[in-house]
């Protein structure tokens, strides 16, 4: 067999705090080993404008909270082989979904952010993507292949899942995964 091409990996940042990406970087020196096997084709830490075709593994951080993210997630799903929910927001909604407890939370949250703090020319901007009624975890919208819970997920856990997948094995989360 000839030298196999590098695995094409992408990371996506939806409604999250970027803590999961920080945790990904916390893999530290093991990133160097990882870099021999993978190439990052799209990421908030790489200057790529359009999500590419034929991605092998995509890690998605954050819940789906607005229409732009909804569209992005669907696009990512069609262009990627293995989709991984990274962190509690992507897995479960987490802090992003705290607003879901309020009725019509999409409006309520905008009013709280833009109208409540000011008496002067209070207005809700219309140039930002429309919020969904509820912030939702990824698997409620598209098929998700693996889940890495945690807020943020531990770097070791991210590394474990990636290396297991690279080795062609299925990661076992029992006793490893951790909410919160």
């Amino acid at each position: 067999m000839t030298k196999s091409p590098k695995i094409r990996v992408a990371t996506v940042w939806l409604s999250g705090c970027s803590g999961c990406h920080m945790s990904f970087l916390d893999i530290d020196e093991r990133l160097i080993d990882l870099a021999k096997k993978i190439t990052v084709v799209y990421s908030p830490i790489a200057d790529v404008k359009e999500f590419p075709e034929n991605v092998d593994v995509t890690l998605i951080e954050g819940a789906v909270a607005n229409e732009e993210q909804l569209e992005m997630l669907k696009k990512v799903r069609t262009r990627t082989k293995i989709l991984i929910s990274l962190g509690d927001c992507a897995v479960d909604g987490n802090v992003t979904a705290l607003r879901n407890s309020w009725r019509k939370s999409d409006q309520a949250i905008l009013e709280r952010a833009y109208k409540d703090p000011t008496d002067l020319n209070a207005a809700i901007p219309n140039a930002v993507p429309k919020l969904l009624v509820n912030a939702r975890p990824l698997h409620e919208i598209v098929k998700v292949d693996f889940y890495i819970p945690g807020c943020p997920p531990h770097a070791d856990l991210i590394y474990y899942v990636l290396t297991e997948l690279l080795a062609g094995r299925t990661p076992i989360m029992e006793g490893r995964s951790k909410y919160g």
């Binding site: 479960d92 407890s101 919160g180």
Partner: protein, 235 residues
């Protein structure tokens, strides 16, 4: 009255236990740990969380180990693929029923539901979450109840009734609408029967009842079970 002995098999191992022992207790005595969230040693069993479901050969049904007494010749399986699947499902249903968000919860890292999810490998909730918006009652001097985190295990109600002996706490309504209430659905601060003994907070497996300003690891110290048993056995 003489107490007879019952012979049964738990996970293939033959054991002898006094009759009327519950399967959960019999298993525990032989070193087999069956997962549970509502069970609390020292108070009556409730059979509410359904995590301790076990298989008994000869029946297609599953039985809650905490309220099913042993019988002669019984063959109990406490851990099969089917049971694992059901237990994962139970935890997911508990997580989906109310607003459980570990990262902002007072009981994070000290929560039995969270630990159970981690232990069973529940890495997501396959059911659509029901984002509850129930009342948080902080009218008591230091005890707080956040009903959004309640899993309705009724441990608090049982210790309040059977250990403290006042029965301030109880349940109202049914099914997913059930709520833990104080007295006749009073605010906790207005409860005339509550002795502020804190036992409810100590036994709460999640972050639903907690003590304001007290570190949760202090509130939920594991010696409470022994304390309860000791108090119960004190004649």
């Amino acid at each position: 009255m003489s107490i007879g002995t019952v012979k049964l098999k738990i996970d293939g191992v033959e054991v002898n236990v006094p009759e009327n022992t519950m399967i959960l207790k019999a298993a525990k005595d032989t070193g087999v740990v069956i997962p549970t969230l509502c069970n609390l040693e020292g108070v009556t069993s409730y059979g509410g969380c359904r995590l301790c479901l076990v298989e008994i050969s000869g029946s297609p049904k599953l039985f809650p180990a905490c309220i099913t007494p042993v019988s002669n010749g019984m063959e109990v399986t406490t851990n099969s693929d089917r049971l694992k699947e059901y237990r994962k499902m139970v935890v997911q249903m508990l997580l989906a029923e109310r607003t459980h968000i570990c990262s902002v919860c007072v009981a994070d890292d000290h929560c039995e539901l969270q630990a159970m999810a981690n232990q069973l490998g529940v890495d997501h909730v396959m059911f659509e979450r029901n984002w509850s918006h129930d009342e948080i009652d902080s009218t008591h001097d230091f005890l707080v109840i956040d009903r959004n985190r309640c899993i309705l295990c009724t441990r608090c109600i049982r210790v309040c009734d059977q250990i403290e002996g006042v029965h301030t706490l109880d349940l109202k309504l049914r099914g997913k609408d059930s709520q833990v209430i104080m007295d006749l659905d009073e605010h906790w601060g207005n409860s005339c029967s509550c002795t502020s003994c804190r036992k409810c907070a100590k036994v709460c497996p999640v972050g639903a009842i907690y003590i304001e300003g007290e570190p949760i690891e202090h509130t939920k110290k594991k010696d409470i079970a022994e304390f309860i048993i000791a108090r119960r056995n004190r004649k």
